[in-house]
Symmetry: C2
DNA sequence: CGGTATCCGCGTGGATACTG
DNA sequence: CAGTATCCACGCGGATACCG
């Protein structure tokens, strides 16, 4: 990976800036992370492997269709595994692969950033909205 | 770096992640990060403050409308600042606030994760697709 | 230069019904 | 239980035209 040394006058030391604009694959993965349910599913599976119905219950109001779709995408990307036990009725379990586990870390730091800064963001929004409510 | 095998016993009730499903604000920020252009804009502004046109040129094929919209959202959230200099013609500069700078870190780790694992993901996709191409 | 306004196609995702 | 199939509303985002 090429390292771009940036002369930051901020308190930040040198940071390597990964080029992302040229990798279409990066865009694709980011889209996956950014879609409506992926993060929630990954986090829920991060604690333990779960069956379909249980996963659905823990994921708030996700519909059956969206849960299936999201799981298929994540399975295709090698982030979750799927194990079918042919009992009657069927038992299907989902969990994170090692790749998925490794994704949990950057994802966690992102979620933690949000949790750390959500009040500041909320304040910023209020300030912005007040300043721009000249006329409605 | 190999994945630290975090083996969660099934009876382990404690969560290793902050709960995100109950915070609607978290969902909102994640949506922002996940939308088509935000990450690209933030990373581009991470290097240096930029004027509108220059930012547009560095952001590949983003349209004027989407760039404006994305910047307004990020400004509202307190992630980027906007400075207007009333020259003729107008000079408008955008940059990251300290909040935005702090977001750069988790974002970078996420992008780096993608860069580290994109080949593995690509392989996983090929394998999945081959296994599921029963008929086309 | 740095936007806003308008139109519109297309994909995302919800609701519902049905299957193995 | 764990899906698939179908229909459809909504909003994202592109293209284009115009403004201060």
């Amino acid at each position: 990976m090429e390292v771009t040394t940036l002369e930051h006058s901020m308190d930040e030391p040198t940071r390597l800036m990964p080029t992302l604009e040229d990798c279409s694959i990066t865009r694709q993965i980011l889209d996956r992370v950014g879609d409506k349910w992926s993060v929630l599913i990954i986090v829920n599976l991060g604690a333990e492997a779960l069956r379909f119905k249980e996963l659905q219950r823990r994921s708030g109001g996700i519909s059956q269709r969206m849960l299936t779709q999201t799981l298929r995408h994540l399975e295709r990307d090698g982030i979750v595994w799927r194990k079918v036990t042919p009992t009657v009725p069927l038992t299907v379990e989902y969990g994170l692969t090692s790749l998925g586990e490794s994704l949990l870390n950057p994802l966690t730091s992102l979620v933690e950033w949000v949790n750390r800064n959500n009040t500041e963001i909320a304040k910023a929004r209020i300030g912005y909205d007040r300043q721009h409510e000249t006329q409605e």
